[in-house]
Amino acid sequence: MKVLLVEPTYYTKFPPLGLLKLASYHRSRGDQVKLVRGINEDLEFKPDRIEVTSLFTYAWKPVHEAIQFYHDEFRHAKMRVGGIYASLMSERLESFFPFIDIYHGLFEKADAYIPAYDLLDDVEKWEKWDSTLLFTSRGCIRNCPYCVVPKLEGKLRSVVECLERYIYPGHKRIILWDNNFFASPNWKNIMKDLQDIGLPVDFNQGIDARLINDEKARMIAELKTPLIRTAFDDLHEEKAVTDAVDILAQNGIRRRKIFIYTLYNFFDEEHYNDTPTNFFKRIKLISELGCVSYPMRFEPLNALKKNRFISPLWTEQQLKMVVKARRILGYGGAFPPYKGLVDKFDRANSFKEAFSVYPLRAHPSNL
């Protein structure tokens, strides 16, 4: 059987891990597989089956385009669509394309396969990809209201016993996608494996500041980590974040290597303490700690367009100020602990003072 795997052309920094595992699953059944990104007009591969993945709900458009195109192209082929958007909004998808099968959630049968990274060589965007993407655990111990993980993946469980076999030959980096790495019962073994393997490691989904202690910080410091990601989403976590940063710093991790995601624009009936002032306090604190803050704008689970949701506690004007400040004062969307910026946040007494780009002298190109 011939199986075409389709990654729609939404924006992403990471290749489609699910499709790559699915590719190995199909190969293990004697199937020929082919991976494409987006529309490929002159495909010589004539599939019997087409598997399409999807990502965030607001990135639905390229998914629809891909489904329509490949359906028109290969009418006889069975088509199945999976991934986040397909799982969360299957009814919407089905109303557009009654002829497709929709797969909800994680396809467990394929999960344990080593992803077929070799397929990436045929996709221009991914041909230079050299990192192993890996979940050592799924799910999370927390139940944060703004987070989709507990809804999609459920309770935390370890899924990888021995790391070594999952590291793809020739890869130069390991990217861990665990939602809450240190909450996994198996974290210590995995850390030891990571040390033995010796490749740079990115805890890509961030580590839970509340779980950092001396032992963990020491082990992190012994790894090659380009940066350490954590989050400061609620002012109640001030002590946990401050302590975590201090412990990491004491163990030799440079503060400006610590990257702290900062949620804003979140609101639901039970949680309404995310206000501009609250956000400003968190950013200011991170700045005082000498770390990098990275504002994360909340998107509702089913958003069909990005950046449309506005919390009743925020105004459009305020959200725009954050965008502008990130662009003009920050670097790459983040606020690094540059001296000028630290001073500015330090002097500021309010959200407005902190995020207004004046009185910094306007750049000539903006005049």
């Binding site: 019997d48 076999r165 030959p169």
Partner: protein
């Protein structure tokens, strides 16, 4: 009658899981042998084509054939251990083959389709099997535990339930310690050596004739195309050019019954054949049994590997053992057969010695080169030596199968003798000639160069030219050595040590103690040190007995004029080195 009360009855309770380890790992010496087992199964299933290839960046190895495939019952039976219902004509008969990939991977997957039957898939969890060797479980329990359910798979559009047939064996997630064993080059060599691949008769045309003779001796050629990574596999040898065209044929009899038929080709040069083209192998049903040593070790003396050949076992009584590295020892045929093989190999060796003695085209070529390079004295010496050798006699073995080769070798030898006469004449002619004016002119230039050289170099050069030497010799770098010793205060005699210590290089990385001399304040000094040694090593041969070896050949093969020219250039380079050493400052004591 036996008393039932005293009998030891074996039931499945008697077979523990540890037995499985012995079966799957212990029996197969070298894990690549599983490839042979799978190829053999494919041939037995009447496949016309086998494709072996990697998937998932070489983490999976796939063996796919176009054989008859299996239905559900046959698939179950194929997994049974040590039971085979294959007919006598089949190559495999032990019923273990399908399990042979266990030590190499984490999972074996079998996908199979028989005509008019669905496509089935089954998975064997090798990892789990390894886990359970250690536990005290029954073999049957473990086998059931590690073998998945038979899955029915969907057919693609290019398959039909009626006609499609194949079997695919997938060794998935090869263990990391196995990947080094299953590398591309080694698998290719292994297949070429072991499986019943055809000859590449486009380059090895003698193969056509050999095939005819094999058929005439009742040996069935296996008609199968085997591809590895899309390249067709051919069995050796690969080229006519290395061999005399005589096909040596030898039939082995035991008790007046034909046991085996062998054919061999002999090297047309007096040298060991290249690895892929040498060796004499036992074959049974076209599969190789054992390695090249198995044949040659049947005689005790040396054998110099100037032949390629196959000895095909015809007699059914000679059965291969399970690892296929030898024949079963418990029968009356093997000993007399091996004795004959040993005797035959001894005669081959005698024939090679005869050829080595009388066929002298290589020394003739060498002498020709010396004459062309005006090295008349060397040529003369070598020629006399050769003539002396040829005056001695050597006998040819009595083995009847080899007598055809005697004629061929003698014919070559006679050609050689004619060549030798020509060489004698050529040497006489050359002796009369005078050195050309060009050489004189160059020598004058060389003298001029010496006059203008640095004193330390001049001293050395006038010494050597007085002796009339035009050779790069062991002393050629002496001036550099002298200067280095002066500058550093070291007493080393070995230029390598001297430069390494002076400029602190060690494979052009930093050495241990830091430099003694400094040319500039940069690590490049180490490169300079290495360069001095490099020049020395490139041109100056420290071992007199190695003269004429390849590293020196480019100098030796030059004409007289070129030699002088090269010497001048060499000493120019030396001048540069001397200048830079002079410029170096001593920054510490040794």
């Amino acid at each position: 009658m036996r008393d039932v009360n005293l009998l030891v009855i074996f039931t499945e309770e008697a077979f523990g899981a540890k037995l499985l380890e012995a079966l799957t790992a212990g029996l197969y010496d070298g894990n690549k042998n599983c490839l042979r087992e799978y190829v053999q199964n494919s041939i037995d299933s009447k496949a016309k084509r086998i494709d072996i290839y990697y998937e998932n960046n070489r983490s999976d190895l796939v063996i796919k054939d176009t054989g008859c495939g299996m239905d559900k019952q046959e698939l179950v039976k194929a997994l049974h251990l040590g039971k085979s219902e294959k007919p006598d004509t089949a190559i495999g008969w032990r019923g273990i083959g399908i399990w042979s990939g266990i030590p190499a991977c984490r999972r074996i997957v079998i996908i199979t389709k028989k005509q008019n039957h669905p496509k089935y898939r089954i998975e064997i969890d090798a990892d789990k099997l390894r886990d359970q060797y250690g536990h005290n479980l029954l073999a049957t329990e473990v086998l059931t535990e590690i073998t998945g359910e038979i899955e029915e798979l969907e057919l693609g559009r290019d398959e039909s339930k009626k006609d499609s047939q194949y079997t695919i064996i997938r060794l998935e997630e090869m263990l990391s310690n196995q990947r080094a064993i299953f590398i591309e080059k080694d698998i290719k060599e292994y297949l070429e050596r072991v499986v019943p691949a055809p000859f590449d008769t486009s380059k090895f045309t003698i193969g056509n004739e050999i095939n005819k003779r094999l058929i005439a001796h009742g040996i069935k050629l296996v008609k199968i195309d085997i591809f590895f990574e899309n390249q067709k596999i051919f069995r050796p040898p690969y080229n006519d050019d290395f061999f005399f065209s005589n096909i040596i044929e030898k039939t082995f009899f035991v008790n007046n019954v034909i046991v085996a038929y062998g054919w061999l080709l002999s090297s047309n040069k007096n040298r060991i054949l290249k690895l892929s083209n040498r060796g004499v192998y036992f074959k049974k049903k076209m599969m190789t049994i054992g390695d090249a040593n198995l044949v040659t070790k049947q005689q005790e003396g040396n054998y110099n590997q100037w032949q390629y050949g196959e000895i095909h076992i015809i007699h059914d009584g000679l059965k291969e053992n399970a690892p296929r590295n030898n024949f079963e020892a418990n029968n009356d045929i093997i000993d007399p057969f091996y004795k004959q093989v040993g005797f035959f190999v001894r005669h081959l060796q005698q024939m090679n010695q005869y050829q080595s003695h009388y066929m002298v085209s290589t020394p003739i070529e060498q002498i020709k080169k010396h004459i062309d390079a005006d090295e008349i004295k060397t040529a003369q010496d070598k020629l006399s030596k050769l003539q002396k050798k040829l005056q001695k006699t050597r006998s040819f073995p009595t083995e009847p199968a080899l007598q055809g080769m005697k004629k061929t070798i003698d014919k070559e030898s006679n050609k050689n003798r004619i060549e030798i006469k020509k060489l004698e004449k050529a040497i006489k002619k050359k002796k009369k000639r005078q050195p050309s004016d060009l050489v004189k002119e160059k020598m004058e230039r060389f003298s001029d160069f010496i006059k203008n050289s640095r004193p330390i170099l001049k001293r050395h050069l006038s010494k050597t030219t007085q002796k009339g030497k035009l050779e790069l010799n062991i002393d050629a770098m002496a001036p550099v050595k002298d200067l280095l010793q002066q500058k550093t205060g070291l007493t080393e005699n070995d230029l390598s040590t001297l430069t390494r210590r002076a400029y602190d290089w060690k494979d052009v990385t930093k050495g241990d103690n830091g430099p003694i001399l400094q040319l500039s304040e940069s690590y490049r000094d180490r490169h300079f040190g290495a360069m001095i040694y490099g020049l020395y090593n490139l041109f100056v041969n420290p071992f007199k007995h190695e003269k004429g070896k390849p590293i020196f050949a480019y100098y030796e093969s030059m004409t007289e004029e070129e030699k002088i020219e090269t010497l001048i250039e060499f000493h120019h380079a030396q001048n540069l080195i001397l200048r830079l050493i002079e410029k170096s400052d001593r920054i510490r004591n040794p």
